[in-house]
């Protein structure tokens, strides 16, 4: 029904644009990871040296492990907050369901920076939380360890990604046929048993999707550590950032970026596979 000219006309501009402004930049990143820097000058000499450095120097692996730990904590915390909330909305909220649902969604579209900044003002040693605790005479001197720690990074990212985790879980719970739940109750299963044997298994795809989002999005974050993380909360993307800036080792930075990219894409792929396996038809 559509002519050849029509098809060419709609395909060509986006193909050229995406090729030039996305594929080429990503390819440049990939190419850089196989180049080298000699005395502050980039040389186009193909080698695997950057990847060897990356996997042999404990510094980089250490930061990568810490990043994974932080991302895993964020994922776990977001699940612990998001799952019960989704369960409550889906099974107990009744008439308030719609309103409450919108209330969870709104923060998704509210500035990342605003939410991060809010935590900075709350956790600081002269911040709101410390002021509050001193006001109640819980503490007499400011507690300094709250801000600029991995804890602060986990807290901030959990706050940001809880609605992300909530969404797919809620969708999965809503798709569970209610007669299944009723049947379970009618056959004598209690609430806990029904949850563990009917609801939880059927919500696994949503849970996986939410967990993957939280983990992947946290993994490559460099703003939260800069904002509330301090030196002890440095993550792998901050290393990349410093290699591209002050440390000026683009090839090594590019190699780390490629690793982040590979981890991200394999996790998404894996999670998609697992979701398919767990989804019921």
């Amino acid at each position: 029904m559509y002519s050849r000219a029509y098809k060419t006309l709609v395909s060509l501009p986006p193909l050229l644009w995406v090729g030039l402004f996305l594929l080429l930049p990503y390819a440049l990143m990939f190419a850089h990871s196989f180049w080298a820097v000699h005395e502050g000058v980039l040389v186009h000499q193909w080698n695997l040296h950057n990847y060897v450095t990356l996997f042999s120097k404990p510094v980089y692996l250490g930061v990568l492990l810490r990043t994974m730990r932080i991302a895993a904590s964020v994922t776990l915390c977001s699940l612990l907050l998001g799952y019960p909330l989704a369960y409550y909305l889906s099974f107990h909220a009744r008439a308030r369901k719609e309103l409450l649902y919108q209330l969870v969604i709104v923060p998704l579209w509210v500035s990342y920076l605003v939410r991060g900044y809010a935590w900075k003002t709350i956790l600081g040693s002269e911040g709101v939380l410390n002021g509050f605790m001193q006001y109640l005479h819980f503490t007499h001197a400011p507690v300094a360890f709250l801000l600029y720690s991995p804890f602060a990074v986990v807290l901030m990212l959990t706050h940001i990604y809880t609605p992300f985790v909530f969404l797919p879980i809620y969708a999965a719970l809503e798709h569970i046929p209610r007669p299944l739940v009723e049947a379970s109750h009618d056959l004598g299963a209690g609430s806990v048993q029904t949850f563990l044997r009917v609801i939880l298994p059927l919500s696994i795809p949503g849970l996986l999707a939410g967990a993957t989002f939280a983990f992947v999005l946290s993994l490559g974050d460099f703003l939260a550590p800069l904002l509330v993380g301090g030196a002890s909360g440095t993550m792998i993307a901050n290393v990349v950032q410093s290699l591209f800036g002050a440390a000026y080792d683009l090839p090594l930075g590019a190699a780390i970026s490629v690793c982040i990219l590979i981890i991200t894409i394999s996790l998404l792929f894996l999670s998609e596979r697992l979701e398919k396996r767990w989804s019921f038809k």
Binding site: Y2, P14, P84, W109, S111, E126, F132, A209, V240, F244
Partner: protein
């Protein structure tokens, strides 16, 4: 159906859910409250409420320059990514070309990958091409990265569309060009508005990609970011409060545009991303 289901009372779950809501909203509430606090961002309780910080904010020229820059970049990004996203969606819906599957995934990468990777790739490309970093590079970065959002939304719109209308138009003698303007585009109106608002919001707030592509002139998030390093004052709370208010206003508009509900959009976007990834 739910009339038959005996919904058991779950007081603990209810309390827990209220606590989660408090966790989600308290930080922003606190931030807003302290934008009216005379004595700065910390301390408890906030005393001496004042509008002084808002007065300072409205007299703060660099902030408003940054707002202007952000608006220009966002408007440009909406135009660029909607145009290319529309073409890409049409191409994915109707054309077959070598590398189609690859193209589909490639377009989505900026949404899936951490911002730092896209930002640095574009930075290297700018250096490679010998381009000066400026608002133009930020605009090209946003516009390109957000083609992902436009394509996803508009492709979904096309899939829901009744192709018989276009066939009828062509059969009745309209040229493909006329058919595009009079049938295809009007049918996509809602998707276009929704995608436009979403792209605008995302561009206004974008920081990870802009971080690497920014030249001398700051966008609003980067202006605020720069000030955070110099120490914080309730003026930043004031500007954040205004950003929050504008975001919520845009959300309400979007919600009105799509009576189906805002959540289902975000939900669908996430689901589609997952399928496409």
């Amino acid at each position: 159906m739910s009339g038959h289901t005996p919904t058991r009372r779950a007081p603990l779950l209810t309390i827990y859910s209220v606590l989660v809501f408090i966790f989600i909203y308290l930080p922003v509430a606190v931030l807003m409250l302290y934008s009216f606090n005379r004595d700065g961002v910390g301390g408890f309780p906030p005393r001496h409420l004042t509008l002084e910080w808002y007065r300072l904010l409205f007299a703060d020229a660099p902030i408003w320059d940054a707002v202007g820059n952000s608006l220009i970049v966002a408007a440009g990004s909406v135009a660029l990514s909607l145009t290319l996203g529309l073409l890409a969606a049409l191409a994915l819906d109707r054309a077959t070309f070598p590398g189609k599957a690859l193209f589909r995934r490639l377009v989505l990468l900026p949404l899936i990958l951490p911002g730092i990777i896209t930002g640095l790739s574009l930075l290297m490309f700018a250096v490679f091409a010998g381009a000066q970093l400026s608002l133009l590079t930020v605009f090209l970065g946003h516009g390109t990265a957000l083609i992902s959002v436009a394509t996803t939304e508009l492709f979904a719109g096309l899939q829901k569309m009744d192709h018989a209308q276009e066939e009828a138009s062509l059969d009745l003698g309209a040229t493909p060009w006329q058919t595009f303007w009079r049938v295809t585009l009007p049918n996509l109106k809602l998707s276009l508005i929704a995608a436009g608002l979403l792209i605008f919001t995302l561009s206004m707030d974008e920081i990870a990609v802009s971080f690497f592509l920014i030249g001398r002139d700051n966008t609003l998030p980067l202006e605020i970011w720069g000030r955070l390093r110099r120490g914080i004052t309730p003026e930043i709370n004031a500007v954040s409060t205004l950003i929050f208010a504008v975001s919520v206003a845009l959300i309400v508009i979007w919600y009105r545009v799509r009576t189906r509900g805002l959540g289902s959009d975000a939900q669908e976007l996430l689901e589609r991303l997952q399928q496409d990834a």
